[in-house]
């Protein structure tokens, strides 16, 4: 198999020469230049508010780049979609937790692509791809999650699992209030309740969720 070393950094080509069983040819990701550059602080705020238009735009603007990268690096379109959605959630989460510093980064688009790329590289490095040991030399963008964030991730996963057990009504109330950020008034109108009922139901659903999680 011919390996085009001109596409790969010096460290990797060294590794490739040592290891004749490389199955992966790493193609670089070309940075996406968006057709429009929205004011990043506005975009950031919209995403923080879970504005559907902003979320959808962020999603559709960057998917093709990531799919192309994954597919050129031993992946399938299905794998690309999964990795991209993981990356998208991770980026969204960092924005919610105020961890995304807009000033230090080129753009949200580039950040999303970067996270996706790192996730794909992590996937390739995993146990299933033991033979591609040369990838250990590959420089990855410093996005290593500290231990506390892993703990956080576990708790978030537990929350997500337990939400599914909540039941349709609670799920809807909590989604409307916390995700769509609807006011209690809007919710009460939508669910045909009084505002007081809406408030009480929201409280009860939240307690129920806490109980489910803390039950373990």
């Amino acid at each position: 198999m011919n390996i085009n070393t001109s596409l790969i950094s010096g460290q990797i080509s060294e590794g490739l020469q040592k290891n004749p069983y490389i199955l992966v040819l790493i193609q670089p990701m070309t940075p996406q230049t968006a057709a429009h550059e929205p004011d990043s602080s506005e975009q950031l705020y919209a995403i923080k508010m879970n504005d559907e238009t902003a979320l959808k735009a962020l999603y559709t603007d960057n998917y093709q780049q990531v799919e192309k990268y994954v597919v050129q690096n031993n992946g399938s379109p299905d794998e690309a979609r999964d990795i991209y959605q993981e990356a998208f959630i991770a980026v969204w989460r960092n924005i919610q937790l105020n961890r995304f510093d807009a000033r230090g980064r080129s753009s949200l688009n580039a950040y999303l692509c970067q996270v996706a790329r790192n996730k794909w590289l992590d996937h390739l490095r995993s146990a299933r791809y033991k033979r591609t040991s040369a990838l250990q030399n590959e420089e990855s963008v410093a996005d290593e999650a500290p231990a506390s964030e892993d703990e956080e991730q576990k708790r978030l996963d537990a929350i997500k699992i337990n939400i599914r057990q909540l039941g349709g009504l609670c799920k809807e109330v909590l989604t409307r209030f916390y995700y769509r950020r609807e006011s209690l008034r809007t919710i009460s109108e939508g669910m045909n309740w009084t505002e007081a009922t809406a408030r009480n139901n929201k409280y009860r659903c939240l307690q129920k969720l806490r109980e489910l999680i803390n039950k373990k």
Binding site: Y59, Y63, N74, L156, K160, Y178
Partner: protein
């Protein structure tokens, strides 16, 4: 301190307002002071922070597949598919080469099929005792019972090696069975003796055997040496390459 205990409704409201930055600066500072002093409050704020994000994350995860539907699908020629296409192209080219190759050579076999007729055999005279075995086998040969005649003639050949009649008809029987490979050496044996009465016929049938074996180049000289009525036609066909 029971971190699992239900959070009072009022406190929950306060925590949510704090987390959503809906408190005034003084309120915020007061709340932060309370948190510093109160472990339980701090724990609850931390818990709620994660809980709220978890609820949102659960909701957004369900939206992603809807977002994905908005991706206009461009056919991606991925590496595996590309390799498959290359392989398919290689096979197609190789395949057509093989077909071309076989077409060229099938004409040799087609020529054989068009011009081969088994030797009719000798008129047997069952009378003479010393030729009885040979004649008996010839009867079988004429009936089309080639294997039976071969068995008998092989036996005779062991006892009377170098008999061109035997060798010629052993070859003929083999060729009649479609076994050109076994027939050819017997015809060559016959041709080793140029004075043989069977030389011309052996040459013809050796030529045909070689066509059957897909070797028209080797067949041509033998066809040329024969005097078969179809000789020229066959040569014309073979020399058309």
């Amino acid at each position: 301190m029971n971190h699992d205990s239900p959070i009072p409704h009022e406190e929950l409201d306060a925590i949510e307002r704090f987390l959503k930055n809906e408190m005034s600066p003084t309120e915020t500072m007061a709340f932060q002071n309370r948190m510093q002093a109160d472990d339980l409050l701090r724990a609850r704020v931390s818990e709620m922070r994660l809980l709220i994000i978890g609820i949102q994350e659960s909701a957004i995860s369900e939206r992603l597949n809807d977002f994905h539907k908005g991706i206009t699908q461009r056919p991606i020629l991925n590496m595996r598919f590309r390799r498959w296409l290359v392989a398919a192209a290689v096979i197609a080219v190789a395949g057509s080469a093989v077909i071309y190759f076989f077409n060229g050579h099938r004409s040799a076999e087609q020529t054989f099929a068009a011009y081969y007729q088994p030797d009719p055999g000798l008129i047997s005279s069952m009378g003479a005792a010393d030729n009885y075995d040979f004649d008996r086998a010839m009867v079988d040969y004429k009936k089309g019972d080639y294997n039976k005649s071969l068995n008998a003639w092989h036996e005779l050949n062991k006892r009377q090696p170098g008999n061109d009649t035997l060798q010629y008809f052993i070859g003929s029987a083999y060729l009649a069975l479609g076994n050109a490979k076994n027939a050819a050496p017997y015809f060559r044996e016959v041709l080793a003796d140029s004075s043989s009465a069977f030389a011309s016929d052996a040459s013809w049938y050796l030529g045909l055997s070689l066509l059957r074996l897909d070797d028209p180049t080797a067949a041509i000289p033998f066809i040329q040496r024969s005097v078969h009525p179809a000789r020229n036609e066959v040569l014309q066909k073979l020399e058309k390459k």
